[in-house]
Subunit: 222 residues, 2 copies
């Protein structure tokens, strides 16, 4: 087992507030895992992965309906920590979350039982966990607001701008079907709205590609 | 100031884990407040109420869009505790929640600054807060699932059954408009589906009243 305490110090915000003994335990039990783009670091229905810290790459956290419909709840970028892959240690969480690597991704995993023990014995870890949950809670409430209170054109414009920002490009390599899965919508609905955006000169569409031509108009729609 | 420590012991789950000094502080600063049906114990956009514990009555927690659309996120019944009326002490919460008394209601309010201090210094209170948040988080994720993944007939059937359960009657005194506000929907949509239920003999409709005639069929629709 390698000593990864140097990296943990950077990536795990509670590190400096742990005792020597707690640090040693986390260091000894934390695994580094590698995932290719398209692989699933966590499936909510089958496993209890533990606390997951993103070292590099990109992950989306999504919900899946019985009929196979999806919606992306939030993205995990380097330095982000995923709490709900450890939800098995929290009795009061009764939903299942799935994680998919959107790029080749490296994560640190603190096993669920180790993190569960820390959370119950360390006030800083308990406080950290509560804050992390509050922040994800806000993300999900934002989704509720979007889905219930916003028109679809505004949601789609918002999604395209976010994606530009994450990918740092104005040419998105994404299919209409993928967008529908992120947004909990249907491909036909996405295609119809993208065609409308295209007619207005806001985007240019080609196979598997969307080029943003008028960012300002997108912001106006949001 | 009355000594309400006897009641706090029953209603505040962390009470037995507090120190004498902490109990004394909570006891001295906690207020009892009375609200008539239709009043608002908390408005997310204007106040920081504090931790709110329901002694008697019934409260709904809801979100409000800029355009005045609403959706009920969960109900607070006697012995329930509302965390988000104290969200001002949690920097990582960035949404606003409103509370409306659905019956004449009595609550205890622990001021935000007192609860904030407790949370940061007491591991049991921090753990309790985290669990409470996890449980509300699950409620909101359930709403996301319903809105995105369920058909409207199933959601409406589910709402009627829940309401029967809360009110303990098969004759609901509720208008179509009120149902729409609970569900984040429009009155016309609710009316249309209720008329369909009525034609099927599942409910009987009259002014301001919905009588459930076939609970089993409702469960089937869910």
């Amino acid at each position: 087992m390698n000593d990864i305490s140097g990296e943990l110090k950077d990536i795990f915000p509670c590190w400096v507030k742990l005792t020597e003994k707690q640090r040693d335990e986390v260091n000894r039990h934390t695994d580094e895992r590698h995932f290719k783009k398209g692989q699933f670091p966590h499936r909510g229905d089958v496993e209890c992965t533990g606390l997951l810290m993103v070292k590099s790459g990109q992950i989306r956290a999504f919900m899946l309906s019985e009929s196979g419909k999806e919606i992306t709840l939030y993205r995990l970028l380097p330095w982000d920590v995923c709490l709900f892959s450890a939800s098995c240690i929290m009795n009061d969480i009764n939903f299942e979350l799935h994680l998919e690597a959107e790029k080749d991704t490296v994560v640190f995993v603190v096993p669920a039982e180790i993190y569960g023990r820390l959370m119950k014995t360390s006030l800083p870890v308990s406080e950290y966990t509560r804050k992390l949950m509050a922040s994800r809670f806000s993300d999900v409430v934002w989704i509720v607001e979007q889905v219930l209170f916003k028109r679809f054109d505004s949601r789609l414009a918002s999604f395209l701008l976010e994606q530009m920002n994450i990918d740092n490009t104005d040419t998105l390599l994404i299919t209409h079907d993928e967008i529908a899965r992120h947004m909990g919508s249907a491909r036909e609905v996405v295609t119809k709205m993208l065609n409308y955006f295209s007619n207005e000169g806001i985007v240019a569409l080609s196979r598997g590609k969307i080029k943003i031509q008028d960012e300002k108009m997108l912001q106006g729609i949001v």
